[in-house]
C-alpha cells in the first residue's frame, strides 16, 4: 500500500507540473488556437488526477464533457471565426485587467487552500473511504433526487432558451 502511495505521489507531481505549465501557456500564448490546445492539456491532467484519487466516474465525465464536448466547441468556434495560423498580437489584455486577474487568482488560491486544509487536515488519502460509482449513483437517485431533477429541468430550460435565441424567424 505504501509503495503504491509513493508511486501515486510521483505521478501526482509530474501531472501537476504539466498542468501548471499548460495553464501558464493558455494565458501567455499569442495564438488563440494554441491557447485552446494547451487547455486540453490542463483538462486532461485534471482527469488524470481524478483517476489517481480513484474517482474514475468523475474522471470519465471530465473527459466526456470538457474534452469531448466543450473543447471541441471551442475549437469549432475558433476555426469558424478566425482560422488563420500564426500569431495574433492583440490577444493580450490591458495591464489593469492583468492585475485584477492576478488578484482573483491569489484570492482563489487562498480560499481553496484554506478550505482544503480546514476540511481534511492531516488525513491521508489511504485512510479515506474510496467511493465507488455505484454508491455515487445511489446517493444521487435517493438522497439528492430532488436537486438532481431540478437541475435537469434547469438545463432543459437553458437548452430551449438557446434555441429560441438562435432562431431567426
Amino acid at each position: 500500500m505504501l509503495a503504491l502511495l509513493v508511486a501515486q505521489n510521483i505521478a501526482f507531481y509530474i501531472i501537476a507540473a504539466l498542468m501548471v505549465v499548460g495553464a501558464i501557456r493558455v494565458v501567455t500564448t499569442k495564438n488563440v488556437m494554441h491557447a485552446a490546445l494547451w487547455l486540453v492539456l490542463v483538462l486532461s491532467g485534471a482527469a488524470a488526477q481524478y483517476i489517481l484519487l480513484a474517482a474514475e466516474f468523475v474522471a470519465i465525465t471530465q473527459v466526456l464533457v470538457y474534452l469531448g464536448a466543450i473543447i471541441v466547441l471551442f475549437l469549432f468556434g475558433i476555426m469558424l471565426t478566425r482560422a488563420k495560423t500564426g500569431n495574433d498580437d492583440d490577444l493580450d489584455n490591458k495591464k489593469s485587467a492583468k492585475f485584477i486577474g492576478a488578484g482573483i487568482g491569489i484570492a482563489l488560491l487562498g480560499l481553496m487552500g484554506y478550505s482544503l486544509i480546514d476540511g481534511f487536515g492531516d488525513t491521508e488519502f489511504g485512510d479515506l473511504m474510496v467511493q465507488r460509482t455505484a454508491e455515487v449513483s445511489d446517493s444521487i437517485f435517493s438522497t439528492y433526487l430532488l436537486p438532481f431533477e431540478v437541475l435537469s429541468v434547469l438545463l432543459l430550460a437553458a437548452l430551449i432558451g438557446a434555441i429560441v435565441i438562435a432562431r431567426r424567424d
Binding site: V63, L67, T85
Partner: protein
C-alpha cells in the same frame, strides 16, 4: 496450458508492462487484419474484381508492403502549416484508439482495466479523436483540410448522441455499466426460462444494435457517411496534407477503431467472449475468450464494411437530418420501451 495461465499472477509493474506491450501490439494487428480481409479482399470480391494478387500468397501481404512503403516516405509538412500541431494531430487520434482497447474485455481476467463504468469510458475516449481531427484540419493551413475538419466535427458530435442513447437500452437491461458485467448478464440470462444460449441482447435490443452500427459507421467517417474525407468534393479533407507514417497513423487509427467498435458491439449485443454451455468462470476462457470475441468481431465488422462498400455517399444535410430526426428519436423510443419492460417484467 489454461491452468498455467490461471495461476500466473505477476507483480504490479510486470502486469502493467505486459498490458502496454499487448495493447500496442494488438492495435496495429487488428488494423492490418481488417484492412487486409475487408478493404482489400472482400471489397474487391463485392465489386467483381480480384484485388491484390502479387505480394504473398493470394496477395495477403499487400497491406504490409504498403505499410513499409509509407514508412520509407519523407515526413513533409506544408509551408504555411503550424508544424507542432500538424505533427501531433495524428498521435492524438491514435491515442483515442489506444484508450478504447483499455476497457475491452476478452475474458473475465484478460482485460487491461475492468472498470465499473466500462461502457461510459469507451464512449468518452472515443470522442477524443475529434480533437485530433480538428487539429489536423486547422494546422494544415489548407481550405479543403479545414472544411473536412469542420464537417468531421459536426458529424462526430451529431452521431455521438445516438450512439450513447443506443447503448443505454443495453445498460438498462443488464443493470450494469461494466463491460464484463454485461457479458455475465447475457451468459446467465434465459429466454422464457430456456437458458440454452443465454440471452444475447440483440434479440431485444435490435433497434439499439442498428442505431449503434449506423453511428459507428458515421464515427469512423466511412461511406455512406464519408463527407469529411470525400475525395471527390474536398480531396480527402483533413488528411490531404499528410504523407508517410503520419498518414499511416490515421489509417491505423481508423481501422483499429473499427475493430474496437465492432468488439464493443459484440460485447454489448452478441454476448462478448462467452459461449453457451461453458460457465463464465471456466479457466478455458483464457484461451477461448479472445478467439470467440475475435469471431464475433469479424461478423460485426463484415456488416460495417458491407454497408461501406455498397452504399453511395449521403449529402451533408441528409446526414444531419438522419441523425437528429430519425436516429435520436428512435433511440429515445427504444429507451422508453426498454425501461417499461424492465419495470413490468
Amino acid at each position: 496450458m489454461t491452468l498455467l495461465l490461471a495461476a500466473f499472477d505477476p507483480p504490479y509493474w510486470l502486469s502493467t508492462l505486459i498490458k502496454v506491450v499487448v495493447v500496442s501490439a494488438v492495435v496495429p494487428t487488428t488494423a492490418l487484419i481488417l484492412g487486409m480481409v475487408f478493404l482489400f479482399k472482400i471489397m474487391s470480391w463485392m465489386q467483381s474484381r480480384l484485388g491484390p494478387q502479387e505480394a504473398g500468397p493470394r496477395g495477403t501481404l499487400q497491406l504490409l508492403a504498403d505499410g513499409v512503403k509509407f514508412l520509407q516516405k519523407e515526413d513533409i509538412s506544408p509551408n504555411g502549416a503550424d508544424r507542432w500541431v500538424f505533427k501531433v494531430a495524428p498521435l492524438v487520434v491514435l491515442m483515442s484508439t489506444l484508450l478504447l482497447y483499455v476497457a475491452l474485455p476478452t475474458s473475465m481476467r484478460l482485460v487491461v482495466a475492468d472498470l465499473d463504468v466500462g461502457v461510459f469510458f469507451v464512449l468518452a475516449v472515443s470522442s477524443l479523436s475529434v480533437i485530433g481531427v480538428l487539429m489536423a484540419g486547422w494546422a494544415s493551413a489548407n481550405k479543403y483540410s479545414l472544411m473536412g475538419a469542420l464537417r468531421a466535427a459536426g458529424q462526430l458530435i451529431a452521431y455521438e448522441l445516438p450512439m450513447v442513447l443506443a447503448v443505454v437500452g443495453v445498460i438498462i437491461q443488464a443493470g450494469t455499466m461494466s463491460l464484463n458485467g454485461i457479458v455475465f448478464a447475457q451468459a446467465d440470462g434465459s429466454i422464457f426460462g430456456w437458458g440454452g444460449i443465454g440471452f444475447p441482447y440483440i434479440l431485444t435490443q435490435f433497434v439499439g444494435f442498428f442505431i449503434f452500427i449506423a453511428a459507428v459507421q458515421a464515427e469512423l467517417t466511412q461511406p455512406p457517411f464519408d463527407m469529411p474525407v470525400a475525395e471527390s468534393e474536398i480531396v480527402s479533407g483533413y488528411q490531404v496534407e499528410y504523407t508517410g507514417f503520419r498518414f499511416l497513423i490515421f489509417f491505423l487509427a481508423e481501422f483499429a477503431t473499427a475493430f474496437a467498435f465492432a468488439a464493443i458491439a459484440a460485447v454489448l449485443f452478441l454476448g462478448g467472449w462467452a459461449v453457451p454451455w461453458l460457465p463464465t468462470s471456466s479457466d478455458w476462457y483464457y484461451v477461448l475468450g479472445p478467439i470467440v470475441l475475435f469471431a464475433k468481431v469479424m461478423v460485426v465488422a463484415f456488416i460495417i464494411f458491407w454497408v461501406r462498400f455498397t452504399y453511395p455517399r449521403f449529402r451533408e444535410d441528409q446526414l444531419q437530418s438522419l441523425a437528429w430526426k430519425v436516429l435520436i428519436p428512435l433511440a429515445l423510443l427504444n429507451i422508453v420501451v426498454t425501461a417499461v419492460f424492465k419495470v413490468v417484467l
